[in-house]
């Protein structure tokens, strides 16, 4: 009964979304404001319906209602309840419901803040968001209904995939979706500007915090995914350039370009066409990602139960939303999006370089991801494109980006001189060079060049950031007060850029200095990894709530002193009949110690993987810093003032 209410609420949401699209459209065509006013309540009601519908699905999982096919396929009475809740988004149908719920949530948030916009622009924004919502609700209701009943109801469910029975599933998809879906807001805003034929002065000012918030969620989402894969999959890797990982990384790259391009359009009215294109592009890549994950076109560990029939539907959505928006861009762009001027050397040119480099990086990853598909589609053979390609190409592209970052964040708007830049940043450059040379001497082996260059660039970014801080605060009456009173967006920028540097450093160091050993060990054996001694103490059996496990006890010593004790497990989940390895990890700021069980060999001997992962946490710490920076920038006081459109124009003239 309750799931039927959920289904009904989804249908109601569909009707409300239709109102959300039709009424503002009619209002704009007829020039009658009363129609426009219906958009807001419709959007809010839609959110309410979807929230309630989602609650009914959660309820079905909690009470083990196996008459729902989706629950029967993804849950089990022995499944611990937190995983039963997260199983709601553990497979295709439920995650789609989460998707539309989050979209409705973002739309709701927009309705809270859109009085700052001219009413016609606000109307189109709401309508576009409603249109996307309709597309996905139709998709869900027609091809992927989470509330579908299956008779007779099985006595127990097929259990959640063991790999997903983890904290990671509780946090990673919601964060990721908040980011993916969040880019729909700048997208809608870009469409509104094109449809209404003008880019209002406050356009970029209004869009910036939305883009920043979506971006920071996506940053966290991707970082969580990487961290989860690291400890869950058992072989210590944290990025595989898997097609679905790439599908989340591409919107992130364009999203990064977007937030920087918005800064230029906000401050100087330049890059309008670029910014609009990036806004369309970021969300388009989110939709493309949705297609790649759910259509079965590419093999991936992440792919949901794939079905080409569903793929056709999503391709249709892609064609409508992306094709429509790009057609609009091609048609209206030239007349709406002109303007802006700046000197050949200026902050603008560095930010333009930033946009272009990120766009090239995105295009490259897209190329590598779909290239096998292109060749296969035209009968030209079957190849694979994997980490060797992506690491090389992406790594090379990051070099000019990091260089531009150091200069760009220091350069002045409108006009700058290379001489002044060089003068101010020569210490930063010197520090970077020194670090690079030291690393080149200290590190041995094939990764020497990459590590030296990577750490030099990371130093360059941090040193340039510190120089910028110094320039603003030193020489003032009270440097400390000056530091504290810096605008949030500047502090956010500094932190985010340092986070980026930290990630670069972490990536280079972990690749260069980590040690992996694949060993044959029995209880009583020990192995030496650098200065750490790994001792296999004992092997026991352990019974979990829905699995049976072999648990090993490892102790790790350094210079004779006990560092830690780890308990890696090899689990066998009874219902699905799937084995899974649970690694034992000792986390640390400068290193992780990682042990995972492979397979049992003869007798009590097991194949075991021992890892010394150097500086791997820096990769995710950097991402956390980037997200923190984004949060600070998004909550800058400037964006929280609700201003009307004419006032916004005056405001822009006054801001430096």
């Amino acid at each position: 009964m309750i799931p039927e209410i959920g289904l009904f609420l989804c249908l109601l949401a569909l009707a409300l979304a239709s109102v959300q699209v039709l009424f503002p459209t009619i209002g704009l065509l007829r020039g009658e404001a009363a129609w426009l006013a219906m958009a807001r309540p419709a959007a809010r009601a839609q959110f309410g319906c979807l929230l309630a519908a989602f609650a009914t699905l959660v309820h079905a999982f909690l009470v083990n209602d196996f008459s729902l096919v989706y629950v029967a396929q993804n849950s089990n009475t022995a499944l611990p309840w937190p995983f039963r809740v997260s199983a709601v988004w553990g497979a295709h149908e439920g995650s789609l419901l989460l998707w539309v719920l989050i979209l409705a949530g973002w739309t709701y948030a927009v309705t809270l803040r859109d009085r700052a916009l001219p009413s016609d622009i606000a109307a189109v924004v709401t309508a576009v968001l409603g249109l996307v919502s309709i597309c996905f609700l139709l998709f869900m209701l027609f091809t992927s209904n989470p509330f579908a009943r299956g008779m007779p109801a099985p006595p127990d469910g097929a259990d959640l995939n063991p790999l997903l029975q983890d904290f990671g599933l509780i946090v990673h998809p919601p964060m990721l979706y908040m980011g993916y879906v969040g880019f729909a807001v700048p997208f809608a805003f870009a469409i509104a500007a094109l449809v209404r034929g003008r880019l209002t002065p406050g356009w970029a000012r209004w869009a910036r915090p939305w883009a920043l918030t979506a971006w920071l969620f996506l940053t966290i989402g991707i970082a969580l995914g990487s961290w989860w894969a690291y400890y869950e999959l058992g072989w210590g890797g944290w990025w595989f350039w898997d097609p679905v990982e790439n599908a989340s990384f591409m919107p992130w790259l364009l999203g990064t370009a977007l937030i920087h391009s918005l800064a230029v359009t906000d401050k100087r009215g330049a890059f309008k066409s670029w910014t609009v294109l990036l806004a369309i592009g970021a969300f388009s890549l989110s939709l493309l990602g949705t297609f790649l994950v759910r259509s079965g076109v590419l093999t991936s560990v992440h792919a949901f139960a794939t079905d080409p029939a569903r793929g056709v539907f999503i391709l249709g959505i892609l064609g409508l939303c992306v094709g429509g928006s790009l057609t609009l861009y091609a048609w209206r762009g030239p007349s709406v999006l002109a303007g802006g001027s700046y000197a050949p050397v200026s902050r603008e040119t560095f930010l333009l370089a930033n946009s272009l480099l990120l766009a090239v990086a995105t295009a490259t990853i897209l190329l590598g991801t779909v290239y096998p598909l292109v060749l296969d589609a035209f009968g030209l053979g079957k190849i694979s494109v994997g980490p060797p390609y992506f690491n090389l190409v992406f790594g090379l592209l990051m070099i000019p980006l990091a260089l531009a970052l150091g200069w760009g964040q220091f350069a002045r708007w409108k006009e700058e001189s290379l001489g002044r830049l060089w003068l101010q940043l020569r210490f930063a450059a010197g520090a970077a060079l020194m670090v690079g040379l030291c690393i080149a001497f200290a590190v041995d082996g094939p990764a020497r060049a990459t590590t030296a260059v990577g750490l030099a660039l990371a130093t360059w970014i941090v040193a340039s950031t510190l120089t910028g801080l110094w320039a603003r605060c030193a020489g003032r009456a009270s440097p400390l007060t000056a530091l504290i009173s810096q605008p949030r967006s500047f502090v956010g920028q500094a932190i985010a850029h340092c986070g980026f540097a930290l990630t670069i450093a972490g990536v280079c160091l972990t690749v260069a200095l980590s040690v992996d050993r694949h060993e044959r060990m029995a209880p009583g054996d020990s192995r030496q990894l650098g200065e750490y001694e790994f001792r296999f103490e004992s092997l026991n059996e352990y019974a979990g709530p829905n699995y049976q496990a072999d648990e090993a006890r490892f102790t790790i010593y350094r210079n004779g002193k006990l560092v830690t004790e780890l308990n890696p497990q090899k689990r066998f989940y009874k219902v699905r009949g799937m084995p899974m390895t649970e690694a034992g990890i000792d986390p640390g700021f400068t290193r992780d110690l990682y042990v995972s069980l492979g397979e049992p060999l003869e007798g009590k001997t097991w194949s075991v993987r021992l890892h010394y992962k150097a500086y791997v946490r820096w990769v995710w710490l950097g991402a956390i810093l980037m997200a923190t920076g984004g949060l600070l920038a998004a909550t800058d006081r400037r964006y929280r003032q609700t201003v009307s459109a004419p006032a916004a124009a005056g405001l822009q003239a006054q801001e430096p």
Partner: protein, 176 residues
């Protein structure tokens, strides 16, 4: 002008993606098509003392079917193979892949033996040389021992009718 570029790129992408929906991303085509079958020196399943080598596969077109007693999908196609061997007189040589003699023999006894002979490949060496990556697989060899077709996965009546039967007919030496 430059405003049209993104749309153009997108259209190309959509065309590729829609073509991609009809493909199977997991299918690995064989690079051995139109190449001679590899040389090997193994024994027959029925008799450990009886050798079998590439020369024994020459002289007439045949099917080489990779199977194993532990393979559940093989059971799906097996009745069809038995039928082809008995009714249509198709010559099928089996390649018993990574199996044990007792289990393989028992399996054939239980499900029928369509094979004129089965090659016993306990270590999978011949399988590796043939590019086998999943069982069952079926190769079509011509009279000169050149691989002409590879079927990945169980054989179905449709595949037999549409692909393999016409191919075998084509490969038959002309009647005297």
């Amino acid at each position: 002008m430059r405003f049209v570029v993104p749309l153009a790129i997108f259209i190309v992408l959509v065309v590729v993606l829609s073509l991609g929906l009809k493909l199977d991303p997991r299918y690995v085509p064989s690079p051995l098509i139109d190449k001679p079958a590899p040389e090997f020196a193994l024994t027959r399943l029925a008799d450990p003392a009886a050798p079998i080598a590439r020369a024994d596969l020459l002289g007439r077109p045949l099917l080489l079917n990779v199977w194993a007693s532990w393979c559940s999908a093989c059971r799906v196609e097996h009745p069809l193979l038995v039928d082809l061997a008995q009714r249509e007189g198709v010559e099928i040589i089996g390649l018993n892949y990574k199996d044990t003699r007792p289990e393989a023999a028992a399996w054939l006894k239980a499900h029928g033996d369509p094979y004129r002979d089965s090659i016993f490949d306990p270590k999978g060496k011949l399988g590796l040389d043939l590019g086998v990556y999943g069982v069952p697989e079926t190769f079509v060899l011509d009279a000169q021992g050149v691989i002409r077709y590879k079927q990945v996965g169980p054989m179905t009546p449709e595949i037999w009718r549409d692909e393999i039967k016409p191919l075998l007919a084509e490969l038959q030496p002309a009647a005297p």
